[in-house]
């Protein structure tokens, strides 16, 4: 009886079209079930069921498959193994560690290597915090493992399980599969708790409730932190044509954000970029912990030449891992580079399914998929009662650099921060090429209290004033393009001069300079404040009728342009000295003019 049941459950391949195959005899298969395909046992997922015909997307190269080969169900959806060993590791789109793949095949990624996951042989030094008789609910912490130097993995009771502890092991070395705690629920059923738990990638992990997001993700990047801040638990999109520095910006955020955990998804991008991350990240020290930033990083790499179906899955793999650490009470930041490649993977598979296309060939469900993804961000009260958050920052690669294409348009609807990268700024090597006119942050209002309490009383006010100056400059530049700068009145030329300092000295930030690659908020504020100081000093002079040419002292202007390099992050006294220089110069200049005017008055008086 059992035999016939098994036979019935095996599908037979009837059609092959790239990564999409069809099978017969699949009426007992479930939607979104994970399957193995063919003699090589390629990994796939059921995406359509129609009568006894099933359609499977295959996560590996399908060349060599034949009709008549078998499709075997695994009885569960595409799931991840979540446990210690995720951090400092790099996975493909379906959580197979690339290092393990390398051990199997040194250079190329072969097909048919089966499902691999985090190391199940490694022994972890485990502290069990639960005691006999304790009542554990879902999300409660029953043990601790120091996963890396900076991150403690908090072993949690998986969702939907609770009960009284009836058995515990002693502290010691265990693998992720060892049973550490046994609990008995109200129905007297026993549950075994292990270090690792499984979770289906397409289902968001549950939380108690959503909290308000009131703290910024401090990135050390001036244009973001001061002008367009991202809240912890918020969402941001970075769209930009090729060569505008999306990946560069994402790398900077991954390196310097003050999140506890970084999940970086290289989705359909270049292989060398991931290699760069592997080579560079271990050498960089996190400004908060002083340890290598790899200690808090999980990398997902499904590069552009790796199978397209796994690229589609990589986004979900990344966000599920992020949720796992969020549930422990960590602030997680997730970078997805690039969500357009994921959308294209959706399009490619949709095309092979011969679905009716919507805009530009993308499937009609593109907006809902994008929304589902970004909605997995958020600041939450975890099931265990802690506070955790996921910030999602997605890069978007619009076709032709045109922001009106479907992926950018739909992403805009579901994110709160929009950091528009600009081709012309990139051409002039103004990096980060974030266009201040097109970008916006929807978090200014809710974060303003935090900025007032933690940075400066007038921080947001200052930001608004400087941003207004930049808007004003934009209008003036349009005029300059028509008539030249010389005909503008002095107060407008002064705005142009100050705007230039803001652009070159402040908004441009050099990722390759040791001092400038990460700048603490205190210095970010002080720099901008000093620019405002210069602006106001000049305006005093303007009132006296001093022309811009005289107000502009080359030495002082030069100091402003270079202050990001010359003033160390940990010693801001240089800014005070700069203010002294300003005072000296302008006091002298103003005095000269006041005297001159005084003399004039006297002369008039005499006459």
């Amino acid at each position: 009886m059992v035999m016939s049941k098994i036979n019935k459950e095996i599908g037979i391949i009837s059609a092959i079209n790239g990564p999409v195959i069809k099978g017969k005899n699949m009426s007992s298969f479930k939607m979104r079930e994970m399957v193995t395909v063919g003699e090589k046992q390629l990994i796939g997922e059921v995406i359509v069921l129609e009568g006894d015909i099933g359609t499977v997307q295959v996560y590996e190269e399908t060349e060599g498959l034949k009709t008549g080969e078998v499709i075997i169900p695994t009885g569960r959806p595409l799931s991840l193994k979540l446990g210690p060993g995720l951090l400092k590791n790099m996975f493909d789109g379906i959580q197979r560690p690339l290092k393990k793949i390398q051990e199997i095949s040194p250079v190329y990624i072969p097909e048919g290597i089966g499902l691999l996951s985090i190391d199940d042989k490694k022994l972890w030094d485990t502290t069990i915090t639960a005691k006999l008789g304790d009542v554990l609910a879902e999300g409660n912490i029953f043990g601790l493992v120091q996963e890396t130097e900076v991150i403690q993995n908090r072993l949690m009771v998986p969702p939907n399980i609770s009960g009284t502890v009836v058995e515990v092991v002693t502290n010691g070395l265990y693998t992720i599969e060892a049973v550490l705690v046994k609990i008995q629920d109200e129905k007297k059923e026993f549950h075994e708790l292990k270090m690792a738990q499984e979770w289906p990638v397409r289902t968001p992990r549950p939380n108690a409730y959503r909290r308000e997001t009131l703290v910024p993700l401090v990135t050390g990047q001036r244009v973001i932190d001061i002008f367009f801040p991202i809240a912890k638990g918020g969402t941001a999109a970075i769209p930009g044509g090729f060569g505008t520095g999306k990946t560069m910006t994402q790398h900077q955020l991954a390196k310097w954000s003050d999140a506890d955990i970084i999940v970086y998804i290289g989705c359909g991008e270049r292989g060398n970029e991931m290699t760069e991350v592997i080579e560079e990240f271990p050498k960089l020290l996190d400004p908060q912990s002083g340890k290598s930033i790899m200690e808090r990083t999980v990398l997902i790499a499904n590069t552009s030449n790796m199978p397209v179906a796994a690229r589609e899955a990589s986004i979900y793999t990344g966000v599920t891992i992020a949720e796992y650490y969020r549930d422990m009470g960590y602030a997680v930041a997730l970078m997805a580079d690039s969500t357009s490649r994921w959308a294209e993977a959706l399009r490619e598979i949709s095309g092979r399914l011969e679905e009716m296309p919507a805009e530009e060939g993308y499937p009609a469900y593109l907006p809902s998929r994008i929304a589902e993804f970004y909605e997995r961000a958020g600041s939450v009260e975890t099931l265990g009662g802690g506070e955790g958050s996921i910030t999602i920052i997605g890069a978007v690669s619009p076709a032709g650099g045109d922001f009106s294409e479907p992926v950018t348009e739909n992403t805009k609807r579901f994110v709160n921060v929009f950091l528009a990268l600009d081709k012309n700024l990139a051409y002039a090597r103004h990096y980060p090429a974030i266009n201040w006119l097109e970008s916006y942050s929807g978090y200014i209002k809710i974060l303003s209290d935090w900025y007032e309490d933690n940075v400066a009383e007038d921080c947001i006010e200052l930001r608004n004033k400087m941003l207004e100056l930049l808007y004003e400059e934009n209008k003036l530049l349009e005029m300059v393009m028509l008539v030249g700068e010389d005909v503008l009145p002095d107060d407008q030329r002064w705005i142009l001069e100050i705007a230039k300092i803001i652009k070159v000295g402040y908004l441009q930030q050099n990722a390759y300079n040791k001092e400038d690659t990460y700048v603490p908020l205190e210095k970010q504020y002080a720099m901008l404040k000093s620019i405002e100081y210069l602006y106001e000093k000049g305006r005093e002079g303007l009132k006296l009728g001093i022309p811009t040419s005289q107000l502009k002292d080359l030495d002082i202007f030069n100091q402003f342009i270079k202050m990001k390099y010359t003033i160390p992050n940990d010693d801001l006294s240089g800014i005070d000295r700069l203010k002294d220089d300003i005072d000296r110069f302008y006091d002298k200049l103003l005095k000269k003019y006041v005297d001159l005017e005084g003399n004039n008055e006297k002369r008039i008086f005499k006459n």
Binding site: L65, G68, L98, I109, G271, E276, A399, A428, M481, G484
Partner: protein, 460 residues
């Protein structure tokens, strides 16, 4: 024994459909034998639906009829024999010799589709390749193992530029390293192929060149395999034989057109401008085969050429390419019209890998500063030029006039150089400094004080 089939159900462009087929695999190679002449065409299974199979034929399908051909499934994937004897030879797009030489025999065969390189196995490319061309070396530096396409337009001298790079490129500074060139011509004119062959023999490197040629009047399905054959040969030479291989491929636009034609014959859902939705993945599968590996000595540096339809950089072909490759060298028509060779449009050109391959120990410590300053200043030149067209050059401010002078000198002396002229990087950087000195020091905000002190001297 594999079965042979006699009946073709349908012929659409390069595709044929046959029915009642058993035991074939996806990607299997088929021989299509003409009963009358005995000539053999090659094809590949690209779709299986129950017992119906669609085969993409690599040669011309003209003359095929329902009853005059035998279709024979070979039971193999598309493999090419690999050997050092490939060098100095010329093949067609499916890897058959077309130079009257003998066939290549080797026990080593490689699947032309390759397999994705594990990012863990890659080595990040850092070694500077001097091309002797100021604009490229200084502003969009080529790095060994990089994929850097030339975005060109019809009639622009991209072939000359590629030939000059091949001729002048010093692929490695250490002696004892072996170099090779793999050249793939996809849908090119006979003239273009002749030009390259001539310049290879003039440079005396013909013995180190492997050529795969698909002429413009050759079947388009063969254009799909031409770059794959070439890259398979390059992978063999680089990663099995430790050679430093430069792959020059022209014209990627023909490749993409072929992809579109076949996609349309397959009645697939099109995306932008009718190109298939999988074009990004398909191109990536080619471009990502360039690079270096951690435990192998060789490298593949990839220099594909594409002609932008209507000079439009936002067209899907250059657009998708730019998202995959590590930068681009863009040629500009207005520079070409002003007789500037090579007409490298500086501002949109970019090398993503140069940041780690320049500066002290690689080129010279001031390289990054000079690059940034030249970009920033030349970008300002564009603004000033626009303004001068409106108000006239006479009415420009003193500083703006200096920018006009700088712009002219930059184009005439820095960008412009002879087809046989090779400048080393030090010469190029010094030239950059000399041109920057046309501008007031106050305008040069990208230069560090140390470098200014060392290299800057104002011309009076």
């Amino acid at each position: 024994m594999k079965k042979e089939y006699l009946k073709i159900d349908k012929v659409i462009g390069p595709l044929i459909e046959i029915s009642e087929v058993d035991d074939v695999f996806y990607g299997e190679v088929v021989d299509i034998i003409d009963i009358d002449t005995g000539s053999i065409k090659k094809g590949k299974v690209i779709k299986i639906e129950e017992k119906n199979v669609i085969i993409q034929v690599f040669q011309n399908t003209a003359g095929l009829a329902a009853g005059n051909s035998i279709i024979k499934f070979t039971g193999e994937s598309f493999n090419l024999p690999m050997s050092l004897d490939l060098q100095g030879r010329i093949f067609n797009g499916v890897g058959e010799p077309i130079d009257n030489g003998s066939a290549i025999f080797s026990a080593i065969e490689a699947n032309i589709n390759g397999r994705p390189i594990n990012p863990m196995s890659r080595e990040y490319p850092r070694n500077f390749i001097q091309t002797g061309i100021s604009s490229i070396d200084t502003l969009a530096t080529l790095i060994r193992g990089q994929k850097l396409p030339i975005f060109s337009g019809n009639g622009l001298p991209h072939n000359e530029l590629a030939a000059q790079i091949v001729k002048q490129a010093q692929l490695g500074e250490n002696t004892g390293e072996v170099f090779g060139v793999v050249f793939a011509a996809i849908g090119v004119k006979h003239d273009d192929e002749k030009f390259f062959r001539k310049s290879f023999s003039e440079a005396n490197i013909m013995d180190h060149v492997v050529m795969f040629v698909n002429y413009a009047d050759d079947p388009i399905a063969e254009r799909i395999t031409t770059p794959r054959c070439a890259l398979t040969a390059a992978e063999y030479l680089a990663f099995e034989k430790n050679m430093h291989v430069l792959v020059v491929m022209t014209d990627m636009t023909s490749y993409c057109e072929a992809l579109r034609e076949i996609s349309s014959a397959r009645e697939e859902v099109p995306s932008r401008k009718g190109y298939p939705g999988y074009m990004y993945s398909d191109l990536a599968a080619l471009y990502e085969r360039a690079g270096m590996l951690r435990d192998r000595k060789g490298s593949i540096t990839f220099l594909p050429i594409l002609t932008m339809p209507n000079d439009d950089i936002t067209h899907p072909i250059p657009d998708l390419t730019g998202y995959i490759t590590e930068g681009q060298i863009v040629l500009g028509r207005d520079l070409f019209q002003r007789s500037i060779y090579p007409p490298v449009a500086v501002l949109p050109s970019l090398s993503r890998l140069m940041k780690d391959g320049i500066g002290e120990g690689f080129t010279r410590e001031d390289h990054a500063d000079v690059t940034n300053q030249l970009f920033a200043s030349y970008s300002k030149v564009q603004e000033v030029r626009t303004l001068s067209q409106i108000i006239g050059e006479e009415d420009l401010s003193q500083t703006d006039k200096k920018y006009m002078a700088f712009g002219r000198a930059f184009e005439a002396e820095f960008l412009n150089q002879g087809f046989d002229e090779s400048r080393n990087i030090i010469e190029s950087l010094d030239l950059g400094w000399r041109l920057l000195s046309l501008l007031p020091l106050t305008e040069l905000d990208r230069l560090s004080p140390e470098n200014i002190k060392k290299y800057f001297s104002q011309e009076s």
